[in-house]
Symmetry: C2
Subunit: 256 residues, 2 copies
């Protein structure tokens, strides 16, 4: 079996925004699906891990797009494991069309946890380090890795939302893709008419649940670059707990 | 070409709720995709209509499920046109597995509008009444048609939300599926642990846009039956305008 997985998807009408391009959240969702199909086909997918009380947990995701697929366009998500260490794997993505034209790239970092203790576990303990068989170190993924999103005390509270039934996935936590959508909802259509998302980056820190309130603190860190910290209130201590941190870089566009 | 379209989908992990079953909103989305594929393949799809300044507009949708597909299950959406009149078509759906076991059914009503005047237009004016070629009057769809959702003044305001970038589709209006999700978010996970959605019905009345606030008025009309009226404030007159109306029937379940 090829070390690189390739999965074809279509930009569905209801997954496209006002401009007729796919929402970034839905693209992120298909990257996560591709990751799941790739690992399942190669013996280290979620279903297998469930049996041995392990699970992959998405720790970071960065997506950088030159262009977004338009309504009804078919696109391919390639995915492969670039590297693995005891507690983390680096999984990359390339999004391209059927002619091989690249739309953009993604980089992700995954941890493996023990589903009972919720603690990180050794990825190499699975099937005698079988992950090493699938590493593709030399396929280019020419975008920067997600770094630490630096924010100062200047970040302003810009929105508070409640989390509902449709935000929650099978693990009982807020679905990773929903955070992307909630962050990108901080900008309105007038903004998106003149700006496209060039790079989106998110680091997941803690889990949020239905009934939690999420506060969004935003700080502009450069021209067209914004950092957003999502915070919930701990139910017991009432302290603010950081849930995730995101950085969004836009590029000015003129819609013609 | 067969008058009945059949499209296979998979219950994707991030499209499943805490219980591991597909969210109803995502199933609704796949029904709308199936409708689009079916009409496109037969020469009366959205893309063709766009050229002649016409568009299908979903007027009503009713979904009744015996069971929801679980995570990773493949399911088929069959769709066909049951009847057509000058201004409306009735399109039905059957959701089943690969062995022919039925999960549930859907019924929908569609109008055709002139995209410039936004007024209803004659469906039979398209290609000399070609729609008649595709009518399947005798395939059973054993669920009730959506009726008028009757509500009284007793309905209580239960939630107000704002509409953001991710709510809006390519037409600049709130995506039909988002209304379904926002309505079903009125119940929490504790409720869904002991109740499944037996029947969901929605009638679309007016269009809402980004920046609008939606108010949800709810009324219990029978045991496990709730009606919800979604209302926005008109930007000019400040009057309350009804956007859609929904009826949700639950069935008590015991999760074993």
């Amino acid at each position: 079996m090829d070390k690189i997985g390739k999965y074809e998807f279509m930009a569905e009408p209801f997954h496209c925004d006002f401009s007729g391009h796919m929402f970034l959240g839905h693209l992120g969702n298909q990257m996560l699906n591709a990751a799941d199909f790739h690992s399942t086909d190669r013996g280290f997918g979620m279903k297998y891990l469930m049996n041995i009380k392990r699970s992959w947990v998405l720790s970071r995701l960065a997506i950088e797009m030159m262009e977004m697929p338009s309504q009804y366009e078919r696109y391919i998500v390639e995915t492969w494991v670039e590297s693995a260490m005891k507690f983390f794997t680096q999984r990359n993505f390339c999004v391209l069309d059927n002619e091989g034209q690249v739309y953009g790239y993604g980089r992700s970092v995954w941890a493996m946890i023990d589903t009972e203790t919720r603690q990180p576990t050794d990825i190499y303990s699975i099937d005698n380090g079988a992950i090493d068989k699938w590493i593709v170190a030399d396929k280019p993924c020419p975008i920067e890795k997600g770094g630490r999103v630096k924010m100062t005390d200047k970040a302003q509270l810009v929105r508070t939302i409640e989390l509902y039934y449709n935000d929650i996935d099978i693990n009982g936590h807020v679905n990773s893709v929903k955070y992307i959508e909630h962050v990108l909802d901080l900008w309105n259509i007038a903004w998106y008419r003149t700006h496209r998302i060039k790079r989106f980056e998110i680091a997941y820190v803690a889990e949020a649940h239905q009934g939690d309130k999420l506060c969004f603190y935003m700080e502009q860190t450069a021209e067209n670059e914004y950092c957003v910290r999502l915070v919930k209130t701990d139910r017991q201590s009432q302290a603010e707990v950081e849930v995730c941190r995101s950085k969004v870089s836009f590029e000015a566009i003129s819609l013609t």
